[in-house]
């Protein structure tokens, strides 16, 4: 996000992350909202209900009986041509898992706000990113916000991206750290958002005037239709979804730049950088954790270490070559994950290593699992982790088998 002074009256409101998300949905003129309450997402649903009941938002609010139904309402409403929104967290997102596949598989531009929360068992209502990371293979674009301004801005961009590439978008933000923390947020005027985000033009539509059947049983191989035209098989349809995600990088960046032109806050990259230009030590993290890393960077810089931060904004599609370019000067890369792929390591670390392969970077990569279930992550702890990793530079061991856990075991 690059802030540029623009010549318009600004409306700075003090909003927590959930209200920023609800404002983003409202400004995007969502037409159908379906959601089920879950901590810490609940204020999003309450706020949107209030907008709808109070006549401030012209939308259908469907108070469903569970998250699986919430997303089923969105996919079907999208199928008749409505712009749809849902929000959830943790168990709710897990419960939606099947429908996540269907939304992406049917190429429906649904937007979902995921307020990141730990998942049971045991019960825990506080923040980590296990919920959305566990859904990374469902075919959704995943955007992670670092502050409440980014939540609002990402919501509006999400619709423009989703409706351009026909891939659903998940806007993720950290529970409590952002969802329940108030910050100043520049809320753009509706007419500016309308100029940026035109009404949704659906590509699939259920209409008796032109009856079509969607999501029929589809065989693995291509098959001819009644006119003798060869149509895609299941595998071709899966390829097209992958291709759409591969190509969505350009759309995400273009939309981010256009957003900058309209609103003065440009999102022209898949991640944001802090002092990367001369850094040979780079901290990589996602969401608000990366913002915390910039504080750790301040102290490390004072101690003479050339440290920078790469804050991942878009996790899917994963920006492999952009990341490699940004990390090309680094000799030590420290990846902090608020998630764990059990039996391996944090998901972000795996992606970073995969990006680095074959690029002759020869950087040491260290992975730390932090902040699970709302475990506090202090900037000092991040700085300490960096310091104790420094000797690895001399040892020349690039990789470690498993991550280090920042907890009391």
């Amino acid at each position: 996000m690059i802030n540029k002074k623009i010549d318009r009256k600004t409306d700075i409101q003090i909003l927590d992350g959930n209200h920023a998300a609800a404002q983003g949905a409202k400004l995007s003129r969502v037409q159908v909202i379906a959601a089920y309450p879950i901590t810490p997402q609940t204020p999003v649903t309450e706020t949107l209900s209030e907008f709808v009941e109070g006549g401030k938002l012209n939308a259908e609010y469907v108070a469903v009986e569970g998250e699986h139904s919430a997303l089923a309402v969105c996919t079907s409403a999208s199928m008749v041509g409505a712009r749809t929104f849902t929000a959830t967290s943790s168990h709710g997102l897990a419960y939606m898992h099947e429908m996540l596949h269907w939304a992406a598989g049917a190429r429906l531009p649904v937007v979902l706000a995921c307020v990141n929360r730990a998942i049971g068992a045991p019960w825990n209502i506080l923040n980590d990113q296990q919920d959305s990371i566990a859904q990374r293979d469902t075919g959704w674009i995943q955007i992670y916000a670092r502050n409440n301004q980014e939540i609002l801005d990402s919501m509006i961009q999400a619709y423009k991206i989703a409706e351009a590439v026909y891939v659903p978008v998940m806007v993720c933000y950290d529970g409590y750290v952002l969802s329940h923390t108030e910050m100043p947020v520049d809320v753009p005027p509706q007419e500016d958002v309308d100029r940026f985000l035109p009404p949704y033009k659906p590509h699939t539509i259920l209409d008796p005037a032109n009856p079509k059947n969607y999501n029929l049983v589809t065989l693995a191989n291509p098959r001819v239709n009644t006119e003798g035209v060869l149509c895609h098989g299941y595998m071709e349809l899966r390829y097209l979804l992958q291709e759409a995600l591969q190509h969505s990088r350009e759309t995400i960046i273009r939309v981010g730049q256009e957003f900058g032109v309209q609103f003065g806050r440009s999102y022209s990259n898949m991640f944001w950088e802090d002092r990367l230009d001369d850094a040979d030590i780079v901290i990589v993290a996602t969401g608000s954790l990366a913002l915390e890393a910039t504080v750790a960077t301040d102290t490390l810089r004072e101690a003479g270490h050339k440290v920078g931060v790469l804050g991942l904004r878009v996790f899917r599609p994963f920006p492999k070559s952009d990341v490699v370019k940004a990390l090309k000067k680094s000799r030590l890369i420290l990846v902090f994950d608020k998630n764990i792929s059990y039996g391996l390591e944090g998901a972000t670390c795996s992606e970073i290593k995969s990006a680095l392969y074959g690029n002759h970077l020869n950087a040491v990569v260290r992975n730390f699992i932090v902040g699970l279930g709302g475990r506090d992550v202090k900037a000092r702890e991040l700085a300490d982790a960096v310091k104790r990793s420094l000797p690895l530079l001399q040892e020349g061991v690039l990789n470690t088998e498993y991550p280090e856990w920042m907890c009391d075991i």
Binding site: A34, A72, S78, V80, L206, N210, V217
Partner: protein
């Protein structure tokens, strides 16, 4: 004017060449359901025999717009269609959710109950072949006591079916009806009536399944008729709480000639292992329900 075989619309929405088994009662029922809705419908279908009927991409034998949706989500999908159409100001269409007994009694009941409680403006039709026939005949919440199925292979099912129409009636919805593929005009009339009513409407359609129930393909109509003649199925409708027996059930009630249910069981291989005690238990269950229906009926 009452519908008969002569004045029934000739327009077909279920085209020839669908993938159902020979003698499929669902195929017959669906044909009349779609005729009654005259093409002004959007259909949502979960995993079921109806998915098979709808065909394989890129060919379908159904000439109405349809979305296939996961098993548990039929009524939620319908809620989405209704909300989407309303948000876009599109009027005059019936949203039809149609699922089997597995998709209604079992995995879909949560979404259905939620949609009915929200008074969603849609028509839900459960076609009931009393088991998971699409996956090769496993027991469902609708499978009768004593039935041999893929998951009750030796002892037969130890519990009787639940009363889904009564469960739906308990939601206080404006229209609940039962129907049977062997009485297609009664079904047609009920769908026509349901179409004009606002709110959640539920029709239970009994659809005998030759391979699953083990009777000859040519006997579908007879089995459906026997079900009504023995009281296994009672044809009725409840409109704003007013209960009426319809069609053959009304005639049987007037004549008072309900046959013993044994005659219905004897025609089907799935009841081969049923015990005398189970038959007695089911006969008692039928007698009690039949009496309840006679007591409630306002048109006798």
């Amino acid at each position: 004017m009452k519908t008969n075989a002569i004045n029934l619309t000739e327009t077909e929405y279920l085209l020839p060449g669908n993938r159902t088994c020979p003698g499929c009662a669902l195929s017959l029922a669906y044909r009349h359901i779609l005729k009654a809705l005259e093409g002004q419908v959007i259909v949502t279908v979960p995993a079921s025999c109806l998915t098979v009927l709808h065909g394989m991409y890129p060919v379908t034998s159904v000439d109405v717009p349809c979305v296939n949706t996961p098993f548990a989500s039929t009524a939620a999908s319908a809620s989405g269609l209704v909300a989407g159409l309303k948000a876009l100001g599109k009027k005059g269409l019936t949203v039809l959710a149609i699922a089997g007994d597995g998709g209604t009694y079992d995995i879909g009941i949560q979404a259905l109950s939620g949609a009915a409680e929200r008074q969603t403006d849609f028509l839900y039709i459960c076609y009931d072949n009393e088991g998971y026939m699409n996956t090769g005949n496993q027991r469902s919440g609708s499978t009768p006591l004593g039935v041999i199925s893929g998951t009750t292979p030796i002892l037969g099912k130890q519990q009787n079916q639940k009363n889904m129409a009564a469960i739906m009636e308990a939601h206080g919805i404006p229209y609940v009806a039962t129907a049977n593929a062997s009485y297609p005009l009664d079904l047609y009339e009920k769908v026509r009536k349901a179409k004009t009513i606002e709110g959640t409407r539920f029709i239970h359609v009994f659809t005998p399944c030759p391979p699953g129930w083990r009777f000859p393909f040519s006997a579908t109509i007879k089995i459906g008729e026997l079900a009504v003649q023995t009281g296994w199925v009672v044809l009725y409708e409840v409109e704003d709480g007013v209960f009426r027996l319809t069609s053959a059930s009304e005639s049987i009630a007037r004549r008072g000639d309900l046959k013993p249910v044994r005659e219905y069981f004897e025609e089907q291989g799935r009841f081969n292992s049923i015990t005398e005690e189970q038959i007695d238990e089911l006969q008692d269950w039928i007698n009690a329900r039949w009496k309840h229906c006679l007591d409630r009926a306002t048109n006798l």
